[in-house]
């Protein structure tokens, strides 16, 4: 069985596992945690496309997450719009704001971009926190409805929301897979490696960066909107810098610039956090140094570590196979020579 088939088998297995999980585990609490993890994963995928594949570390994505969440909350609670229309609109609103911010912020690079986006994120948080009349300020926004029925499908229960979010997650992963393994994906990676080189092979760096930025805010907004309708209550703290640091931790631990990284990192950190419940606010005592150590020793996270290890094993296998082949060839020649001598 080739490595590609193996990979497909693992992926299919995981999807099936995610599909039947609610039947194996009847515990509503774990279903809740898992659904939340899926929502975070969608946001982390958005961040990954930008920071991991294109090389632009955005620290504003908690802000875009919050924009998505508040758009949905306000559209459904205050404007009374149908849930699905509000969901689409929330993503559109986040993307449009993302487009405008990207247009300006992407003119900056490296440190400036990180600082700029950190400040943008903070401004978004402050606006949500202070704009009492619209957002409810520190009191937050309550009574956000669950997704409304589609024909016979109802999304009131935790179980149905689990499947809904899983659906969006799988769609996100599918889109990411297609993008990363495409000419566009290669273009983004070229920009990450060297913007100067990318320019000289004819790539319009600004246009491509903007596309990535908007797309990544789209996914942050989608995650935010799903979060709002799942938790039913949102406060300004979902836009605070701690959220972007959480997302970054998920991404880094799993593997920045890898396709499986967001899933691996989020699952791992969330489940470890669950078993370290007693730590609560002190979890960063462990995750902070972890983040630093990983970036020093395994910059491509767990997934990067394993794929390097796997590749190394493959190549040594290949080499030893080659050696064996060469050896057997030599043996053949020896035999031949012997025969010649004998003859």
């Amino acid at each position: 069985m080739g490595p590609l088939q193996k990979k497909h088998l693992i992926i299919t297995g995981l999807i099936i596992l995610a599909g039947i999980f609610p039947f194996i585990n009847q515990n509503d609490y774990w279903l809740h945690i898992l659904t939340l993890s899926f929502i975070w994963m969608i946001a982390v995928y958005g961040l990954n496309l930008l920071a991991g594949y294109t090389g632009y570390l955005s620290l504003a994505h908690a802000g875009f997450f919050a924009i998505g969440a508040y758009s949905l909350g306000l559209l459904t609670v205050k404007a009374g719009i149908n849930y699905w229309a509000a969901l689409v609109l929330s993503c559109v609103i986040t993307s449009v704001i993302g487009f405008l911010i990207g247009l300006i912020s992407l003119r900056t690079r490296e440190h400036f971009f990180a600082i700029y986006t950190l400040c943008v994120g903070y401004v978004i948080y402050l606006v949500i926190d202070k704009w009492d009349s619209l957002t409810g300020g520190v009191r937050g926004l309550i009574g956000i409805p669950a997704p409304s029925n589609i024909g016979p499908l109802s999304f009131e229960s935790t179980l149905s929301q689990y499947y809904l979010v899983l659906f969006f997650l799988l769609a996100t992963i599918f889109v990411m897979y297609r993008i990363v393994h495409s000419l566009s994906g290669r273009t983004f990676i070229a920009i990450r490696n060297s913007e100067e080189l990318a320019g000289t092979i004819g790539i319009s760096t600004m246009k491509n960066k903007l596309v990535v930025f908007v797309l990544s805010t789209f996914f942050a907004g989608l995650a935010g909107a799903l979060y709002a309708s799942f938790i039913r209550f949102i406060g300004p703290d979902i836009g605070y810098t701690t959220v972007i640091f959480d997302l970054l931790t998920y991404l880094l631990v799993g593997g920045i610039g890898t396709l499986a990284g967001p899933v691996v990192g989020t699952m791992l950190i969330v489940s470890v956090s669950q078993s370290l419940q007693f730590l609560q606010d002190y979890r960063m005592l462990i995750f902070g140094p972890l983040l630093t150590l990983i970036i020093i020793f395994y910059p491509r996270g767990i997934v990067g570590f394993f794929s390097d290890w796997y590749r190394k094993r493959q190549s040594t296998k290949l080499q030893s196979q080659k050696k064996k082949q060469v050896k057997s060839n030599m043996d053949d020649e020896d035999l031949h020579e012997d025969r010649v001598k004998e003859g």
Binding site: T108, H111, V123, D281, F287, G288, T292, P299
Partner: protein, 287 residues
């Protein structure tokens, strides 16, 4: 009129604190090209160490500040050795993430050690004095005078001593400095030491008029970044002038525009600057 002078004095005081924090940040940036996101955590720890020394061991204010300077300075050196030095040749995204990791750790650490509560720091300089017709507390005067003394000392150190001039040399050209035999590792450590010490001084001086809590560094560090972009990344005079500009605009903005949104002023300023000058004001790059 009295409100105006009061607000100007407030601006001066806030500006002094900002300048000290921004100085530490700009020194590290100038020499190592690291935007040290963990600098705010050093600031926060500076306040806690001073507070603890005063409460726990009953040290007087100045002794407590000295201890804080040493502790936080050494912490800076440790950060350089353990984290930033190994990442010297890594892609630019890495040192930023590493700094964020340190920041998260130090904040959680502070919360574990001292709790999440807001605390206040007492000061022996609580009395009220009258200057130019405005009444101010002695502590606020102390912040301004202290900041100026620190800035002058730093200036003399950088300009008049050999060690100081190596820092300047390295800030201008790291490779060149290495070629003429400057021990770049030592300079890097020294810079982090100074940067930590400045953060400790700023925090210890301002803590009595503010509150001490684990997240106290968040806003300060963000604003310090705005300041050094305003004043030119790596520029020492820029950090000082930028600090005071922001201090004044905030205190005047709080009075005449809106107290709620005064914290936004800095960021709006930054967004405007970077929108027009993506490399920051006073960028050296010719292209």
């Amino acid at each position: 009129m009295e409100i105006l002078t009061q607000q100007l004095f407030n601006g001066l005081t806030i500006g002094s604190v900002y300048s000290l924090v921004a100085l530490g940040l700009t020194l590290v940036y100038g020499i190592l090209h690291i935007p040290n996101f963990a600098h705010g955590a050093l600031y926060m720890l500076g306040a806690y160490v001073t507070l603890t020394s005063m409460l726990l061991w009953d040290f007087n204010y100045w002794l407590a500040i000295s201890i804080s300077i040493i502790v936080v300075g050494l912490l800076g050196v440790l950060m350089e050795r353990l984290v930033f030095n190994p990442l010297k040749n890594a892609p630019p995204i890495h040192d930023k993430i590493a700094a964020i990791g340190i920041l998260l750790f130090l904040e959680a650490f502070a919360q574990l050690m001292w709790g999440a509560d807001y605390r206040s720091m007492s000061t022996p300089y609580g009395e009220v004095v009258n200057i130019f017709g405005t009444t101010v507390t002695m502590q606020r005067v102390l912040i301004n005078v202290g900041a100026v003394i620190v800035m002058i000392t730093l200036y003399l150190f950088l300009k008049k001593t050999i060690v100081g001039s190596t820092i300047i040399a390295m800030a201008q050209n790291r490779k060149g400095a290495h070629l003429v035999g400057i021990n770049t590792n030592k300079v890097a450590m020294l810079t982090f030491l100074i940067s930590g010490a400045l953060a400790a001084i700023a925090a210890s001086l301002s803590a009595p008029i503010n509150l001490v809590f684990p997240g106290m560094g968040h806003l300060v560090i963000l604003k310090a970044f705005v300041i050094i972009i305003l004043g030119g990344m790596g520029s020492i005079p820029g950090a000082i002038v930028g600090g005071y500009i922001l201090g004044f605009s905030e205190s005047l903005g709080a009075t005449y525009i809106s107290n709620d949104y005064k914290d936004i002023i800095a960021f709006v300023l930054l967004i405007i600057i970077l929108s027009f000058k993506p490399q920051g004001l006073f960028s050296k790059e010719g292209v």
